[in-house]
């Protein structure tokens, strides 16, 4: 039996039943404007359950708007009670996939719902690519775990306060650590790559030192940065990164700082730069000279010769 168009009253719906619900933010500005101007254009889907109740399948945002606006009735597509709910979910997924791009939280919940009705193989082959997710083994599990995450994380992921990769990682973090990290990333508003860097650093410091991740995040140095009202979110991001870097790589950071000190102390002219090997690995250093004419270059080379003879350079590049 197929679906039929019908007019229903708002109060006929079972608003508590979330069988088909996906995580949703408030309607976008465009959707709100359209609803205000034209009302509900495409009819929501409703499933008449075998127990007689009527469940929203698709069109949550529209219907919540209608209820808020005090609409009494609406036109919908009713699916009869013998309609297979699995099929209904898959059809709803198809509609979702052909519409506006889904946010991270919606994607996770769609995947989680579909795992009840489809095999892993089908999901990997047919659905993940359409969601823009690489079909790697283990991917589904990660998304399902994200779908089951607390509201704070899902909301932050849905609003793009937290990027997809970071959200997936955070789904595996334990309660307090996850909460602290969500709060930190929301404050910093940094790029995806920096979010992932921060996550990695915190995780690795915690594992290395056998402490909980939130202990890394509640380090007074980090807390002070966050509470400092004199710096903006970009500066905070840089300060947090620097702090975590120093904690994760204390000796590399100390060597870098020593080099900067030595460079300053060497008092080289501003048009001469010495660059250490990346991470001080290997013995190849670079010298950069900025000059405007042969005469200037000649003079610089003379000065440099002197610096090399007097050991100034040796001091700079000593291990």
């Amino acid at each position: 039996m197929n679906s039929i168009h019908e007019d229903l009253t708002i109060n006929d719906l079972d608003w508590q039943d979330r069988t088909f619900a996906l995580f949703a933010l408030e309607p976008s500005a465009e959707l709100r404007t359209s609803l205000q101007r034209h009302g509900i254009l495409s009819p929501p889907w409703i499933w008449q359950k075998p127990n007689g109740s009527r469940v929203i399948v698709d069109g949550f945002k529209r219907l919540f708007w209608a209820r808020r606006e005090g609409l009494k009735t609406f036109e919908c597509l009713i699916f009869p009670q013998d309609y297979d709910p699995a099929r209904l979910m898959i059809e709803r997924a198809a509609v979702k996939l052909s519409g506006a791009p889904l946010n991270t939280a919606e994607k996770s919940q769609l995947i989680a719902r579909l795992t009840d009705h489809l095999s892993q193989q089908e999901l990997l082959r047919l659905y993940l690519p359409r969601l823009g997710i690489p079909a790697k083994p283990g991917a589904i599990g990660k998304w399902v775990r994200l779908a089951a995450s607390p509201q704070e994380l899902l909301t932050a992921a849905a609003c793009d306060d937290i990027c997809e990769r970071a959200a997936l990682q955070l789904a595996d973090w334990e309660g307090e650590s996850q909460k602290s990290m969500v709060a930190l990333l929301k404050q910093l508003r940094c790029s995806s790559s920096i979010q992932c860097e921060i996550l990695d650093r915190v995780k690795e410091i915690a594992l290395r030192d056998s402490i909980r991740k939130e202990q890394v995040l509640t380090d007074p140095a980090i807390t002070d940065i966050i509470l400092d009202e004199t710096v903006n979110h970009r500066e905070k991001t840089q300060l947090v990164r620097a702090r975590l870097y120093r904690r994760r790589y204390p000796r590399v950071a100390a060597r870098e700082e020593r080099f900067v000190r030595d460079m300053n102390a060497a008092g080289l002219p501003s048009n001469v730069k010495i660059l250490p090997p990346p991470s001080f690995e290997g013995a190849t250093w670079q010298l950069q000279l900025y000059f405007q004419n042969p005469q200037q270059l000649m003079e610089m080379l003379q000065d440099l010769k002197h610096s090399v003879r007097t050991g100034q350079f040796a001091a700079l590049i000593r291990p």
């Binding site: 790589y249 590399v252 060597r255 690995e281 013995a283 291990p319």
Partner: protein, 361 residues
């Protein structure tokens, strides 16, 4: 005996090989299956041993890079993989054949070896089998050492190094080795052994085995590789060095190598997945000139210099070398560069000559 294979998968081409014959004799309870070809599969089974027909070159140069000094060692490729499952093991990256695999066409291996050694009589070959697998892990059943050791005994220009983390030495007893085989053990600080090498023998067992083979006239080598920096590493490595030097006479040791932990970046997620409790990958690693992650240079220098000092206190003449390190690190640790002594391969050749009395004519 631990690590005993119980499922033997044999390629048709190797069905009647001596190796399979020996496996059938030594593993009477094992289940044997012959197949046309063994295809790659990601399923790991530590009880499985595969016998395949190898079609490549058996002798390979140590995969050194131009950025770091290489020992110039030759690898005798007789099999791949290992069931000891050390957390840091590079072999985990070979995802498509995770199971122990031995080459059944050993006649071809010996033919190639004979030919190569005869072609360059003027050159000393230091050849080892412990690069892509543990040298002795399946030896109780393959008895490969019983062919290999006497073969090397007759080669004037070659020495064999069998490198292991096992104590499977019984086959070495009574072999006519003529001083051409070095039995070598990888050693580590006991806490690292316990955490990261859980299926390997204990340090005590390794040293007991070393002591025994030394009594059978074999020369020895030890590899502190990978050295891991952890809180208390000095005590850990001091303890193992003390145990080493109280177990064996240093005059029997031809060389000791030191290599700080380094790994391909691709190995990191594999270790995280397979050994979530391991923290070896969370040291201060930087990207080395060869693209591998390695400890920041100052840490390596500290590890090596400390070890060299302790070793020198016991035997000032023992050949200690650094595995895959550059000029600057050598200078800082030893105060010289291998280049000043003819290169690292020449230094090791010299150690063979001095401590084993072997040099090509």
């Amino acid at each position: 005996m631990r690590n005993k294979p119980s499922k033997i998968l044999v390629e048709e081409a190797c069905r009647t090989s001596r190796l399979v014959e020996k496996l059938r004799r030594n593993l009477p309870a094992a289940q044997f299956e012959v197949v046309e070809t063994i295809s790659d599969s990601p399923l790991r089974d530590p009880r499985r041993l595969e016998v395949v027909q190898f079609r490549g070159r058996f002798l390979k140069s140590c995969p050194g890079t131009r950025h770091y000094f290489c020992c110039g060692y030759q690898i005798l490729h007789f099999g791949v993989q290992c069931s000891l499952n050390c957390t840091y093991c590079i072999l985990q990256a070979y995802l498509n054949h995770p199971n122990l695999r031995i080459f059944g066409n050993q006649e071809d291996l010996f033919r190639e070896l004979r030919q190569e050694l005869a072609t360059h009589r003027e050159r000393l070959y230091r050849i080892g089998t412990g690069e892509f697998t543990d040298s002795l892990l399946v030896d109780p059943w393959t008895e490969f050492s019983r062919d290999l050791v006497p073969f090397f005994a007759k080669q004037p220009n070659a020495v064999l190094e069998l490198k292991t983390k096992t104590d499977f030495i019984d086959n070495l007893r009574d072999l006519d080795h003529r001083g051409h085989t070095l039995a070598a053990w990888s050693l580590n600080a006991a806490p690292i052994r316990r955490r990261e090498e859980t299926a390997a023998t204990t340090i005590k067992q390794r040293l007991a085995a070393a002591k025994k083979v030394a009594q059978w006239g074999y020369k020895l080598a030890f590899h502190f590789d990978p050295m891991i920096e952890y809180p208390g590493w000095r005590e850990g490595y001091r303890e193992v060095l003390d145990r080493l030097f109280s177990s064996v006479d240093t005059s029997r040791i031809v060389w000791i190598s030191l290599g700080a932990f380094r790994f391909m970046p691709e190995l990191k997620p594999i270790i995280q997945r397979r050994h979530p409790g391991s923290t070896v990958i969370y040291g201060e690693f930087i990207r080395g000139l060869d693209g591998k992650l390695r400890y920041f240079r100052d840490i390596r220098v500290e590890l090596y210099a400390w070890m060299v000092d302790r070793i020198r206190e016991v035997d000032a003449h023992i050949c200690v070398y650094l595995c895959m390190e550059g000029e600057d690190i050598w200078q800082q640790v030893f105060g010289f560069s291998p280049q000043e002594r003819g290169g690292l391969p020449a230094m090791l050749d010299k150690a063979v000559e001095t401590r084993m009395g072997i040099a090509p004519r």
